[in-house]
Amino acid sequence: MTPAGVHGKVSHMRTEPGDPALAAPVPAEATARAAADPDVALMLRLQAGDESAFQDLFRKYAPRVLQLARRFVGSQAQAEELTQDVFVQIFRFRHRYKPQSRLVTWVFTIATNLCLNELRRPERQLRVDLWDRRDAEDRPEEPPLPDPAAVTPEEGAATRELAQQLEAAVGALPPKQRAALLLSRVDGLAYRDVGEAIGCSEGAVKALLFRATQTLKRSLRDFV
């Protein structure tokens, strides 16, 4: 999964706004939805060949996709590769997006699928094994959990400790439980959207969330 932008041949060719080769006809119903939903308007602009729409989309969703990917693969570099892959997929399949569905669900469906696929790769298993054998002090420090209420140094240290433990516990969850938990609690998707993103029913999402929460409660009983 080598990003073409880093190792591949760099192209200086630009896509022009309204490029007819990349444009698709926009139905009237979609236009009406675009007026009500800025995300739909963004996608319609992208479908019409507007490169700036892609930039806007990237700036809006990439920080969330990057964070989600990092919580799946652990390393910043791989998370950045995955994020690029997600947006390349979004660009390639932009004409498949239907304005009837929420853009955030569509984006996170692509992101979750790529993250889960990455975890299934055999060489990934090897990397995880090697990672687990490394000493804890060699690992990069996880980002601290921001908490405005933590004003004293003691409280700040406790919050950082909890954040590190929580990140580690979430990272140790089985992939689907992790996906359900992060999409539901951190990214705020509804159960139905979470089910769509990870390919299961709402009932299955509830079960995944329950198991994930039970595991976290056991792992963090000394902190929470």
Partner: protein, 205 residues
């Protein structure tokens, strides 16, 4: 418990849980712990600062993808462009295949002569000349003489000297294997004499 925290339980389930919680301290604690844990998870940062190199690399990849798309469209194969022509060609091929199958069925029926049918069913069959005549004009019209080799005028000596072979039912069962016999039969029918004459000639010869 997570569904209860998120108010995702059905009304009937929610009522049952509420009734249960009034009497069960353990479940009240469990529900509170679940709510606390989910709140803590929800406080995890949802976003991460984007490195500037990531956006630049992303835009390069997007432009590469756009260029690849244009190249792909320019290389669109002819059969994607002319769908009507492809449809007509497919229908012509289909008609040809159906026609060949019909021809094959008729030929198979004609080869499966009454003599062979009788042999298969175990009933006694008439002499081959009668069988050949019963095959009728369809058989004669559809059976073309073999190309490249003229049928022999006279039967081979070993067959001509043993006309009884033609009356042998096991041989009739394997008629298709006896090429000489088939050639003789075809020649006789094509030339149009009364089959009984050929039989008499062979018998007298």
């Amino acid at each position: 418990m997570t569904a209860a925290v998120d108010n995702e339980l059905a009304p009937r389930q929610q009522d049952a849980l509420d009734r249960h919680l009034t009497t069960c301290a353990t479940c009240r604690e469990e529900l509170a712990a679940t709510r606390t844990m989910l709140d803590v998870v929800a406080r995890l940062p949802a976003e991460m600062a984007l490195p500037s190199r990531l956006e630049e690399a992303m835009l390069r990849r997007m432009r590469d993808a756009a260029r690849a798309e244009r190249s792909e469209r320019q290389r669109t194969p002819w059969w994607r462009l002319s769908l009507p022509a492809l449809t007509v060609a497919a229908m012509a091929v289909l008609a040809l295949v159906v026609g060949l199958r019909q021809f094959d069925v008729v030929s198979t029926r004609s080869v499966d002569s009454p003599g062979r049918q009788a042999a298969k069913s175990g009933r006694p069959a008439g002499p081959p000349h009668q069988v050949a005549s019963q095959a009728g004009p369809t058989h004669v019209a559809r059976r073309e003489p073999r190309r490249g080799s003229e049928p022999p005028k006279d039967p081979p000596a070993e067959l001509a000297s043993a006309p009884d072979l033609f009356m042998d039912l096991p041989i009739l069962r394997h008629m298709e294997k006896l090429e000489h016999f088939e050639a003789i039969r075809t020649t006789t029918l094509d030339e149009g004499p009364d089959p009984s004459d050929g039989q008499q000639e062979r018998s007298s010869g």
